[in-house]
Symmetry: C2
């Protein structure tokens, strides 16, 4: 399907204002963020137009506004299959709104998210885990990232990461290999696609998951942009796992954001002789990160209280943790092979047909199931 | 010096009763331990003699009593240079009395400790850390155990362990290599010296540190005896570090005892791919063990509150944590090279000569300093 048509609605004033502000400002512009939070996007835009905004760079913003063209940006997005999702849209991942909580280094809630891929971002984020770590990773870290990505995908959790070299890409690729759901939050615009060396990886992610960015499609990444992006990775997921990180590294900024958002923070231990495990050990010891060794551990930490806790330490994972009871029942009624019609699924699940249809839609949007010639089936077993 | 003469005092009824009960019973005999706790050693012994003790094996105990010979045991101990230290003796390590706290698997406070070596056990235990782990250790674990033993010894902490193959022996040997203090708590009697393959290691430990056992000198180790011994390792030290341990291993029993005694419990992380780190990860995650990566981390955890906390993460260790202010001042007044007389040390330390003499005695007994031809000097720099 092409995403733009099925995406957000009409070009309201709010949407246009967000497109324009996203073009003329940078994510992480604290002063701009504050004005938007107080006066809304159209109000903030009006203050830029009149030059009345308390902002050191308001002249710059005005100059950029003169050449900004939201229709052009939307068209550039559509060219790479990207839609612009804003707060209030059905697909807006409401978890991200928690970013208003962040204090000091507050880059606030994104003005909007450019999204490419068939996933419903809101639904997928509700059952997702961020797996992040060093770009200059070790073979050990890459192995662990791969096992985590695989294990999470097999248990139908979406893997969120930053699309970078090293740990990030290992986690993405493992989720893809398991035919699972993965989401890459980029620091560049989506048509820029940084790092360029991951062009094919990004195509693969966009084919079944989602590429996400706060920046207009053609924008190159900036140095502060990576840290700003990291807050989005923490905010979009239910919890964050740091696989390998040196002390004072970028991956630890994602960890700090997760902790500040009160999301579960986890870290994988490693040899004490490895500098790339030192950051993980540091946050386990001093930031309250939970030590995790595999996907089972991760799911135990992020699952709602009371779910997944009774199972034995080395037992098989329960793939449906985190879904509500009805959706779980519907998912369990769907065969791994063959296929099944909604009416039969509704009977098997013990829910009404309307409920079954709603749950099927959510599960499909999140990439957990798919429709075959013979009906619905679990996606990972294709 | 020969230890027996400078050891405990006269053959009181209490001492004889403890020798006899230690000969006829096994450490870890819960029923016997309870009677001793209630009626004292002489009272318990009287109950064995009269057969009035509520104990399933009282007939056995009586039969053994007929052939028990405390004088013979003392002579056998003296033959290997071992003294029998009991509660109330100046050298009795009072930390061990906390064992009355242990609940279920209560083997209680030892009847007495056979001690071989020049250390004052009480003083040394007050500044000691247990470093324990798997017998079938990996090269990684052995390296870490060695670094910990070295780092603790360099900072003048005594290294307590079980004298076993693997992690235990690496920790002992590293402390010896640093000319530090180390204490081996054996599951066998001291002349039996289990494991026999560590005969030379035990000789080296006895030369400058201490070999310790609850059992009469000639007794072979029993299977439950190893677990009983582990409680002593936890009780004799200020805190316990597990370097490598499989799930459900013996090293974790020491860890459990440390936790039950409310002593700091620490564990070294390792690769999640290593079964021998799984026990460490388990207790970090579920038992509240603190993740430690080096001797600096360990000392930070076990030092009294407020000491050693302000130093930077990678700063040099402060060797004198855990000594009282006067003893610290005296230790700091002692030169690393050459030597110094007590009067000069007293002046430098700003304490009276009596205090200086007392502190010098304690520091020497604990193996921290030594007397050379030219006076007192720090032992590790020999």
């Amino acid at each position: 399907m092409t995403s733009h048509e099925s995406g957000p609605g009409a070009l309201t004033n709010d949407r246009i204002a967000r497109l324009l502000l996203g073009r003329i400002g940078e994510p992480g512009d604290v002063a701009l963020t504050k004005v938007i939070a107080e006066f809304g996007a159209p109000g903030a835009l009006e203050q830029v137009r009149t030059g009345s905004m308390h902002h050191a760079g308001v002249a710059n913003l005005r100059a950029r506004l003169e050449v900004a063209d939201p229709e052009h940006d939307l068209a550039a997005g559509a060219l790479v299959g990207a839609r612009f999702v804003i707060p209030g849209d059905a697909e807006w991942p409401e978890q991200v709104d928690d970013l208003v909580r962040l204090g000091r280094r507050d880059a606030g809630v994104p003005l909007g998210l450019w999204v490419r891929g068939p996933l419903d971002l809101r639904v997928a984020c509700r059952r997702s885990v961020a797996v992040v770590g060093a770009r200059a990773s070790t073979a050990y870290g890459e192995y662990v990232a791969g096992e985590l990505g695989l294990g999470l995908a097999e248990r139908l959790w979406a893997v969120v990461s930053g699309g970078a070299y090293g740990i990030d890409s290992r986690a993405h690729r493992a989720a893809l290999a398991a035919r699972g759901t993965t989401i890459a939050v980029l620091a560049s615009g989506l048509s820029y696609g940084y790092p360029r060396g991951h062009h094919e990886l990004f195509e693969a992610i966009a084919a079944g998951g989602a590429l996400v960015s706060e920046s207009p499609p053609d924008r190159a990444p900036s140095r502060p942009g990576f840290l700003i992006r990291n807050r989005m990775i923490a905010a979009a997921s239910r919890g964050t796992v740091v696989v390998e990180a040196a002390l004072r590294s970028g991956a630890l900024s994602t960890a700090r954001h997760a902790a500040e958002l009160c999301r579960p923070l986890m870290a994988v231990p490693g040899p004490v002789t490895s500098e790339l495990s030192a950051g993980c050990h540091e946050i386990i010891r001093n930031t309250g990160a939970v030590l995790v060794t595999d996907a089972h551990d991760v799911i135990e930490v992020i699952s709602p209280a009371g779910e997944g806790l009774a199972e034995p330490r080395r037992g098989p994972g329960r793939p449906r943790d985190g879904l509500d009871a009805q959706t779980t029942a519907v998912l369990e009624a769907i065969p791994a092979r063959g296929g099944c019609g909604p009416a039969q699924i509704a009977v098997t699940a013990g829910v009404g047909l309307d409920t079954a249809m709603r749950c099927l839609g959510e599960l499909a949007a999140a990439g957990f199931i798919e429709r075959s010639a013979s009906g619905w089936r679990v996606r990972r077993k294709r």
